[in-house]
Point group: D2
Chain length 201, copies 4
Amino acid sequence: MRALVINCTLKPSPAPSNTEALADVVSAELRRRGVEVETVRAVDLDIRPGVKTDMGPGDDWPAVHDKLLRSEILVIATPTWVGHPSSVAQRVIERMDAMISETDDDGRPVAYNRVAGVVNTGNEDGAHHVISEVSGALVDIGYTIPGQAWTYWHLGPGAGPDYLDDQTGHDWSDKTGRAMAANLVAVAEALAAHPMSAPPE
Amino acid sequence: MRALVINCTLKPSPAPSNTEALADVVSAELRRRGVEVETVRAVDLDIRPGVKTDMGPGDDWPAVHDKLLRSEILVIATPTWVGHPSSVAQRVIERMDAMISETDDDGRPVAYNRVAGVVNTGNEDGAHHVISEVSGALVDIGYTIPGQAWTYWHLGPGAGPDYLDDQTGHDWSDKTGRAMAANLVAVAEALAAHPMSAPPE
Amino acid sequence: MRALVINCTLKPSPAPSNTEALADVVSAELRRRGVEVETVRAVDLDIRPGVKTDMGPGDDWPAVHDKLLRSEILVIATPTWVGHPSSVAQRVIERMDAMISETDDDGRPVAYNRVAGVVNTGNEDGAHHVISEVSGALVDIGYTIPGQAWTYWHLGPGAGPDYLDDQTGHDWSDKTGRAMAANLVAVAEALAAHPMSAPPE
Amino acid sequence: MRALVINCTLKPSPAPSNTEALADVVSAELRRRGVEVETVRAVDLDIRPGVKTDMGPGDDWPAVHDKLLRSEILVIATPTWVGHPSSVAQRVIERMDAMISETDDDGRPVAYNRVAGVVNTGNEDGAHHVISEVSGALVDIGYTIPGQAWTYWHLGPGAGPDYLDDQTGHDWSDKTGRAMAANLVAVAEALAAHPMSAPPE
């Protein structure tokens, strides 16, 4: 079983990413459960604006799209900015929009029988909304969202520290992240054994 | 397999409900696939404000809670008002909040291994948001949301007719509703055969 | 100048309301600036489901509607439940929906030249979203939202204490609440002196 | 009085933009009311990821930031993608985040006494949510949102035509857009005559 973690931080490598730090907790638990995990830092790539799978020469999205199709599990890891998923996360979701009309040999949307979850960090409030926004979009595209397949961290109220700067609450976020990993694996395995069919006419 | 449809219209019986009319398309397809379906019209009940499972004498929620625990499939059917899920839908979700800390004999949150989807109608725009809001809340509580487990109807832009008043677009909404039913059943069956476990410590 | 604060807690009187406690900071600052402030606890009233201004005998909404029309300033104070404004807040917004088509003698929607802001408390994350949801609905109805006309409080991550149980962060929430009051008064005064006209044909 | 319209389409020039076509209705009405209007197509610029006003050499944002500070009126025009504001709109909002801590000579956040509104088009549902998301973020930054300072267009349900491809509903969207322009000008003038002060300590 394979998982793709797309880190949607605004900060290019090699800057430390708070979001990746929390996503790494989820990745570690996925690996402990036998999943092969790959992480992509989307801001390091040239992901062109648009809603097609290939936006032409120089577009780095098609390679990410290939990784998505090889992965039963997807984790979108995103910071909160002004209360929303990052522009990089929204770019990723926009590029995934084309998957709504891509089908496999059995006529199933390619996202069927894949599961997804959300990791979120912020220096301020917004997590539940970010998780709903991303989860809702992925359900639209055809991903299944397992129960409690998310974790988050921020301190409140008002603008505060980043995840890597303050240990407060890490226990909760990390434990919730391990539960997320368990739930992603459980539902991915259930769908592998009992897959969804193509939509009825 | 059992499904509970909670119709969150603002209109008490016996007024016709546009939302129920579209939910009935989903219910019919669920029944055709062998599911026993019960519909509750929440506004006809006295569902008290609060976040406990039992808010005291006269509270009609505990009976709905029992139905939820007997049903592998949940459909929240809600109109859009001012761009949001109805106050009745939010009341239902608030009362489900207590389920986050209710566990079964194996230590699993009671919503684990149950699936949910959303039916939405409106006289104006709002469907994707309503679906995300409700789906996000149900994932928080522990429900699994199958890919494309939703349908909706409204015409735009601006305030327009109700579902029962205009046939435009019914084909799309009904077909999407049948796919929703198929996806709910498929994922519910997968989880029945390969259930999620209690969250790791 | 008059302000109406609608407290949308789920708890009937005389239970203490965390949301009201933070709203009281805003009310005190409004009074200090010469505004007459009235607070309504919506859950104590029988506000019927529906989208008309008068839903018939026993409906307590018409009296609240009268208070709205006497007030240049509106404060919606709501707890966060499952990441959303409370069902009581959504009920209030639904009943305000009728105001979209109510006009004054000059053909202006009755909400024009009135301002609104949002107070939010929670035992978990959700404030920015709650504030956006409520503000967005009120803009739809015709209220003007002054810059930074909101305040909130919760601690994170995960479920935590209530506002009245923990002093952490009160300084920030209270100061932000006083700025909210100042901004509501400033924009209400500007609109009183230079009012908006009826929409062009 | 000056207005800046930021078109957040995903399509670089010279491709026709549906969102710009509807924004042009608002711009025409602003001009008719004596406002000087400039439009920026954000995707044509190199707006770097980040939350500072200047992200270094090659960053095109500082020039847009200058335009914002010269404009009493801001219009964010964005398409809906997967139910959300576009990634380009979110990028713009992220870059505006730095304005929260920028103040003028009187200690006022630079967005105070400026007004903003939202234009939205889509090939599917999402307008109310997009408008709330963008408006909520701008209120956070300090912009005032006049009542009914938005317009939108899409047909539903399901994926449908673009604004430039179908005249259905243009009358409503255009009329709503002209009201939006009137309301932006009215509140901008009111704030120019009676400005907000710096937040109290």
